[in-house]
Amino acid sequence: MACNSSTCNSSGCYKEYEEEEQHKSKTRAEVKGSNIRQNLCVKCKSSEPVCCGIGGEDSRFCKDCFKNNLYGKFKQAVTYNAMITPPDKVLVAFSGGPSSRVLLQFVHEMQYRAQKNYDASKDKSLPVFGVGVAFIDESSTNSFASQQIEKAIEDIRSIVSNLAPPSKELFVVPIESIFSSDGIDCKERLKKLLDALGDVTGKEDLLIHLRMLSLQKIASENGYTRVVLGSCTSRIACHVISATVKGQGYSLSADIQFVDSRWEIPVVLPLRDCPAQELNTLCSLDGLKIVETPNGPFSGINGLVSSFVKVLQEENLSRECTIVRTAGKLTPFHFNRIPEIQDSNVPSATRRHHRRHGLKSNGSLSSESFCAICNSPLKKSNSSSSLTNESPQPSNRFVAACSSCQFQILPKDPSLMEQFLPLLPHPMITRAKHGDRGNVSSLREQIQDFLLSDGDDEI
């Protein structure tokens, strides 16, 4: 097929195609070259660009346009999903890292603008939403942490106090206080709980679940109506891969939506479409201070996934976005929307969006049951081949849990379960009991017609 003639003129000759290609790439280079020569922001075309977005050479922005671009994504996520409406009090989960720093900054700016509007308005009809900040101190799980954590907390206090007016309440809560209602030394109990786990990944994941419970506790005890997380595209991409690897494909779509209402206080993720790289850039551009906390990098499965995604990202800058976009095509759950969507404060565009995407409340009570440990929705039928499940695993009658938690968190030996369960924080124990009750009541439904007595003696 190789054409050796330099003067070949036949229409199918690949040389013709090659020349066309060369010509095209020349013109492209010219256009690019002119942009570079003129050195202009691709958005406003007037200022000098100072940084690149995730699109590389094609997305060079000046500082203002870059920031507005990111803030715009945040704002759209908030409005489109009705995340924050005037009567809300939102609790911002702050870890000190770049994503949560940017989140805090954006939430503050939104609140600040709302305050300005309120002050300027005559009838004061729309109150400004309240903002609180929560930092979960995990230093008790890490023996090297104690000195660094004092400094970190100082820094966090100063960051939050500088973000006033409007002023924001700061909660610095040690993670072991999730056990507070039970008296015995909380640090001891946390240590016992973590030591009972043999799997490194299980420990890390349990801590993440405990962190969420802490946030829920703070929010609920202090009248907050939303918990806001700074999970960015990169973190979500890692979660997609690690959930897949842990066998949590069914519940994955629940964790990666903008809104997650299975919790008592709904959780929202406004930075879902913002890549970590851009958030980092914004922190350095705007001089946003990042606080180093002593939580080490992940190891085990989570660490492996993190390095894997990093390698992929190096090979192709938009890989993280593709991963999140693919996972975004999975069907969400009924709780992946703000509950009271009938509120007239919610823009009609949002209500249309929810209807279109099947996120509308259909009024029926969910028959979903949830894992006691990680709160992920459990898949109902389990008639799959015994080869797909880990073979001889005693079925856990005590606790309804997903297969991942059963493997990496719960003890294998049923006799150890009795000692393990009381170590868990109260909300998990409650969920465990409810899960069981859910099973019994659905069984009862099936045989209801044949029961002669109405007595509830079994439960």
Binding site: Y14, G249, I301
Partner: protein, 348 residues
């Protein structure tokens, strides 16, 4: 592997000779063979892969997966009276130094297992060998060409053999890699199909993967201990495949948590994907009559690209032919064989 005289955990009689990659149990050879074969037998039963009296073509490359598959299927067919007629079907992609060697292995398998062999070649079917294709398009998208061509080649071979099904040696590692790849590449439609143990039931020849839950390491171990004859070199054109990323990752995963491979497959089966995104509408290729969701099947598109010196045709986002190309179909001399036959004469 320091074993120091531990007993097999299954029979408690013989000395443990290996650690099972899937479960890390210490086990003797005989028990390993038994549990390996029994698990596959259970997969075949529970998923109803075969019916008595069926003619089955085993996709045979001469590599460990297909050799072990041929061996185990023959054995189980005998032992459990599946009542199947088994054949070996091999594809010659025309890769010098790789395929000609592995084909020798398959020819030996034909004699060793007593299974009739049929070989179909890219050269006969398409007029191109992989060597020629790589010379033209380089090493970036060659796996795409080969994969597409092979799939059709297997179907045509199966039609010539008049079999009811094709069994391939895809193992758990392969399927786990494919699940990850589809997530990374954004292919939600493929993601919903790639964990199915039987595919193409509404097409010309259904295919099944009896090794869906079998670990690659265990297949290697089985072949090693049973001293089966197989060819063990990587395709010389594959180093740059994107699949390599997923493969590395899975190998690292398996080291810290062996069950992760099955967990990935489970996730793939459990993903909530709306049924509307599942199957693209199925028609037939205008050029050759093969099944296709577009006007031309992928093989014809790629072939057209090769024959017209447009190596990027059918690769990447802007796929398919523009309207000019479609009007301009010239029948090249070298493509006299099967693919230029009229629709309907191929017995699909």
């Amino acid at each position: 592997m320091k074993l120091g005289g531990r007993l097999c955990c299954v029979c408690n009689q013989r000395r443990a000779a290996l650690k099972r990659p899937k479960t890390l149990e210490q086990i003797c050879r005989e028990c390993f063979y038994a549990v390996f074969e029994e698990e596959i037998h259970q997969v075949i039963l529970e998923n109803k892969l075969f019916k008595p009296g069926e003619r089955i073509a085993i996709g045979a490359s001469g590599g460990k997966d297909s050799t072990v598959l041929a061996y185990v299927l023959s054995e189980l067919n005998r032992r459990h009276n599946y009542g199947l007629d088994l054949f070996l079907l091999s594809v010659d992609e025309g890769i010098t130094g790789y395929r000609d060697d592995s084909l020798e292995t398959v020819k030996r398998n034909e004699l060793q297992y007593g299974l009739p062999l049929k070989i179909v070649s890219y050269k006969d079917l398409y007029g191109w060998t992989m060597d020629e294709i790589v010379k033209m398009i380089g090493l970036k998208n060659n796996c795409t060409f080969c994969g597409v061509f092979r799939r059709q080649a297997l179907d045509r071979g199966a039609a010539l053999l008049k079999v009811d099904k094709v069994a391939t040696g895809h193992n758990a590692d392969d399927i786990a890699e494919t699940v990850l790849l589809n997530i990374l590449r954004g292919d939600i439609a493929r993601l919903s199909r790639c964990t199915s143990i039987i595919t193409g039931e509404d097409g010309p020849i259904p295919r099944c993967k009896p090794f869906k839950y079998t670990y690659e390491k265990e297949i290697v171990m089985y072949a090693y201990f049973k001293k089966l004859d197989y060819f063990s070199t990587e395709c010389i054109y594959s180093p740059n495949a994107y699949r390599g990323f997923a493969r590395e990752f899975i190998k690292d995963l398996e080291r810290i948590r062996p069950r992760a491979i099955l967990d990935i497959i489970k996730s793939g089966e459990d993903f909530r994907i709306a049924t509307s995104t599942k199957m693209p509408e199925q028609g037939t290729c205008e050029r050759c009559g093969y099944i296709s969701s577009q006007k031309w099947c992928k093989a014809c598109v790629l072939l057209e690209g090769l024959n017209r010196g447009l190596p990027k045709l059918g690769i990447g986002r802007n796929q398919g032919l523009n309207s000019d190309a479609k009007k301009d179909i010239k029948k090249d001399d070298r493509t006299k064989s099967i693919e230029s036959k009229q629709c309907g004469s191929l017995e699909f």
